[in-house]
Amino acid sequence: MKAPVELSIQSDPVYLAGARELIAALCRRVGFQDEACGQVALAVDEALANVIRHGYDRRTDGPIRVLVWPESEPGVGGIRIVIEDEAKQVDPASIKSRDLDDVRPGGLGVYIMKRVMDGVAHEKREGGVGMRLTMHRAASSDAGVGGSGAEANDG
């Protein structure tokens, strides 16, 4: 099904703020609380930043598409977001968060995405070029709630 909302940007970090605000506004319409809207916007920001840094190696003219399915029908409320690029392909298994006990700059983006979304999956796009990231969160989700969640490896 064609996405009811689709944003195409160049891989330039100046456009991240616009993408965040769009996503947060769509989440509000779907009935997410403000905090959850901010978290989903953060997940999209992290995903786009990774495409810019790792996919396009900071080239600012690569295409990125953000497809959004906001769903506010009772029972199936939530948001589904797909991010597609035309950057180099990597093994999806290599895209993973680091151990949080190792305090170093970086290595947080994927952890944050997994923490605040109900599902996060990277895959290679068909045709040999580009990656696709699919994320979703239910309006009823308790992902990202509280200071330390299930995924935080407290041992």
């Binding site: 330039d12 970090p13 100046v14 991240l16 703020a17 965040r20 905090e35 901010g38 978290q39 953060l42 920001d45 992290e46 930043a49 810019i52 840094r53 949080l100 305090v103 170093r104 700059p105 970086g106 947080l108 983006g109 952890y111 944050i112 923490r115 605040v116 990202g144 200071g147 330390s148 935080a152």
Partner: protein, 121 residues
């Protein structure tokens, strides 16, 4: 388009330096913040540096990484680095990253300075 996306107010209070970035600290703004913090640490002088985040409504992991970097450089330089005045979104990303206990965090820049003994020292 080219826009660093951030301005940083820079004040001296006693022996402390207070840096107040203004705006979202995302991948667009982090490099400029990194430069400013590096400049202040390299210039020497201040024994206490406070990054006051009261005018930062949004921070992503690139901002967090910039501050982790700053903390390490500060330690090497023998400078005490504080964060102060974290808004709810900023606090929550530090909590998610479990870095809220790694940084010295104060409610206000003045509290940070007081706790460092910077105004007497």
């Amino acid at each position: 388009m080219a826009d660093s996306g951030i301005g940083v107010k820079d004040e001296t209070r006693g022996e402390a330096r207070v840096l107040s970035p203004e705006g979202d600290i995302d991948l667009n703004a982090s490099p400029a913040l990194r430069e400013v913090v590096r400049g202040v640490l390299e210039s020497g002088g201040a024994k206490v540096v406070v990054v006051d985040l009261s005018m930062v409504d949004y921070m992503d992991s690139s901002g967090v990484a910039t501050l982790v970097d700053a903390m390490r450089s500060a330690r090497k330089a023998g400078v005490r680095l504080w964060l102060s005045s974290l808004g709810p979104q900023v606090r929550s990303i530090f909590e998610i990253a479990r870095l809220d206990r790694v940084f010295d965090i104060a409610s206000t820049a003045d509290e940070a300075i007081e706790r460092s003994g910077g105004e007497d020292g």
